[in-house]
């Protein structure tokens, strides 16, 4: 009852933020734009045939390339629109949740209720996820239907992007929540969490480079440090790889229309590295990331539980 009340309250607080509605409008516009696009063998139609062009990029010679459509859906909708842009906006929208919870006069009433501080924190933390869960469900659900109805490509695995997005958000939001408790400032929480996200991405990007250019591994110290750092931080990149795998998406290297001969081997290695990341166990990818998140949440709860208000 208490946990549910905190989740409902968090959703109401989310709904009160302008960003919530701005995101919803952006999602509807993008979904409408996708709806205006159609495919026929060898052709792509924009605005229901108002403009069309010959291409075999998505259709191939024998019908739709479902793997390419899945790759576009995952990299466009899940990774860019909801991943980078959506999660960033969600961080901005929810970063004030903990600082406002801890304001004098607000926290007093909450702490006087028969609920432990750790439970109160976790209820609010999980409640903040509802912001992303709502948008992910709405947008991925809508685009799933459009891809199926308009493009003729049904991708049930793509729906698994919904929980993956929530998990991705949680990797970054744990930093925001900790900073919110520690510094009681939404601005600091935004800067620290987005900064941490860039660091996570940078560490994984360096790891990817080691995989693409194996000769770099000769520098053992740098390579080992990269491996350890990659293990420790949340694997935000790997979430997209996992979504691609579960959606049956083509490798991103396959989306490159034309590869020059001199680039071919580098592209092949990058494709191979991507395939290896895709085939990593979800238990490792998500489990080790959740371990990091658990440590950060533990620190935040420890701080919250010890604090006088």
């Amino acid at each position: 009852m208490q946990f549910w009340a905190l989740i409902v309250d968090s959703f109401r607080e989310s709904r009160d933020r302008k960003i919530f509605w701005v995101m919803l409008i952006i999602e509807i516009i993008i979904a409408a734009a996708m709806f205006c696009i159609g495919f026929q063998p060898g052709r792509i139609h924009i605005l229901f045939g108002l403009w069309s062009a010959e291409t075999d990029y998505f259709t191939g010679m024998s019908g739709l390339r479902h793997d390419k459509i899945a790759a576009v859906a995952v990299s466009g909708v899940m990774d860019v629109i909801l991943g980078w842009i959506g999660v960033s906006l969600a961080i901005v929208a929810t970063s004030g949740f903990f600082p406002s919870l801890l304001e004098r006069g607000t926290v007093d009433v909450l702490l006087s209720k028969p609920i432990s501080r750790s439970r109160l924190f976790l209820g609010k933390y999980v409640g903040s996820m509802v912001f992303v869960l709502f948008h992910a469900t709405f947008f991925i659900g809508l685009t799933f239907l459009i891809i199926g109805i308009r493009w003729g490509s049904w991708l049930p695995g793509y729906l698994l992007s919904i929980p993956l997005l929530v998990i991705l958000f949680s990797y970054v939001y744990c930093i925001s929540a900790w900073a919110g408790v520690r510094f009681r400032s939404a601005t600091v929480a935004i800067y620290l969490s987005l900064g941490a996200w860039v660091i996570f991405a940078g560490i994984q990007g360096i790891g990817d480079l080691f995989d693409t250019f194996p000769e770099w591994k000769k520098n053992r110290l740098a390579y080992e440090a990269s491996v350890v750092a990659r293990w420790v931080v949340p694997k935000t990149h790997d979430i997209t790889y996992l979504a691609g795998k579960w959606s049956g998406a083509a490798l991103s290297t396959e989306l490159i229309p034309k590869i020059e001969e001199e680039d071919r081997s580098a592209v092949e290695r990058a494709g191979q590295a991507e395939l290896e990341r895709m085939n990593l166990s979800p238990l490792y990818t998500i489990g080790s990331s959740l371990l990091f998140e658990a440590v950060i949440i533990g620190l935040a709860i420890w701080r919250f539980a010890r604090k006088d208000f």
């Binding site: 009852m1 208490q2 549910w4 009340a5 905190l6 409902v8 309250d9 109401r12 607080e13 709904r15 009160d16 406002s100 304001e103 004098r104 006069g105 607000t106 926290v107 007093d108 009433v109 909450l110 702490l111 006087s112 209720k113 028969p114 609920i115 432990s116 010890r306 006088d308 208000f309």
Partner: protein, 320 residues
């Protein structure tokens, strides 16, 4: 230990409560307070005396450095008993995105009130506090007085046995203050224990059975209002005429003369009659004889003025 404390009749029995903040700031230096079940208890003191810290310790918002004793028969900080406690903090802030009804439902859910009770209690309490027309309105549209009434409503949503109200009449107009006083008296009649922290001493005087005065983190006075004011009663006699010839005789009766006013400390009828006889014997005209009891404000000022902080040694039994 728990079994023993549950046997006590005190609703609140605070023993040696201490709180030292960082940089060695001592907010509470060993507070002992007893509140009887079913009474209205007032806590007063100057700014910085530690009143809010004490209230926050009782409500688990602040962790004490040291504290013994019980609240509603359970050790201080017992989370389960908070389900039977209502609390209105000073300068409370409620989420503006909620309506009055949503807020009551939210806080009552956190207090483990079943949904059926919440949906019955919320409209009733809004009605009782004059907010029945505002239940569906967002809180950020409420005035300060309405917010205060809503705060009191949320403190009562779980039908608490023990209610802690920090400045409950803050922001209310005189009619609103009277309403809250009546509500407090209703709560007492219903057997609830109310702990009030207020700057408005006249308000406390009107409703409290017992009070404690906190000065510099210690209880300077504690007891029933009549106990606290008993030693401060005096008789004021006004007269016209020249009292100079009997000044020495008046001084012998411990009566102080200030122009046409004579003040006799204490409540001694024989001494008062002796002074009256003396004045009449001198042919002076007695205009009035008035017993005067010190107000709570006088007692507070006296306590602050430097009486070494102590429990006053008056009755610490709950009022009947």
């Amino acid at each position: 230990m728990v079994a023993l404390t549950e046997m006590t009749n005190w609703a609140v029995d605070l023993i040696d409560v201490r709180k030292t903040y960082s940089r060695n700031i001592q907010a509470l230096r060993g507070v002992n307070i007893q509140v009887g079940r079913g009474e209205i208890f007032g806590l007063l003191g100057p700014n910085g005396a530690g009143k809010t810290t004490l209230v926050k310790i009782m409500m688990t918002v602040v962790r004490p450095t040291h504290a013994l004793g019980t609240i509603m028969g359970r050790p201080i900080g017992h989370r389960g008993k908070l389900a039977l406690t209502g609390y209105l903090p000073e300068n409370h802030r409620f989420p503006g995105y909620l309506t009055g009804l949503q807020l009551l439902d939210y806080y009552a859910a956190l207090a483990k009130v079943p949904r059926a009770s919440r949906s019955v209690n919320a409209p009733k309490l809004l009605d009782r506090l004059g907010l029945s027309q505002w239940g569906g309105t967002r809180i950020d549209k409420y005035s300060k007085g309405m917010m205060q009434r809503l705060g009191i409503a949320q403190a009562l949503m779980n039908n608490p046995e023990f209610i802690v109200l920090d400045e409950p009449t803050d922001g209310l107009d005189p009619v609103g203050r009277r309403d809250i006083r009546q509500l407090l008296l209703e709560l007492r009649r219903a057997g609830k224990t109310v702990f009030l922290n207020s700057h408005l001493l006249s308000e406390l005087e009107m409703v409290c059975d017992r009070v404690a005065i906190l000065v510099d983190g210690l209880v300077a006075r504690q007891g029933t209002l009549s106990d606290l004011t008993e030693h401060t009663i005096e008789c004021r006699i006004t007269f016209s005429g020249d009292a100079q010839p009997i000044r020495s005789k008046l001084a012998a009766l411990h009566a102080s003369v200030d122009g046409d006013l004579i003040v006799l400390s204490g409540n001694d009828a024989a001494k008062t009659n002796a002074v009256i006889d003396l004045l009449r014997g001198q042919g002076l005209l007695i205009e009035s004889v008035q017993p005067h009891r010190f107000s709570l404000e006088d007692i507070l000022v006296e306590a602050m003025a430097g009486a070494s902080p102590k429990n006053h040694g008056v009755s610490s039994k709950p009022a009947d």
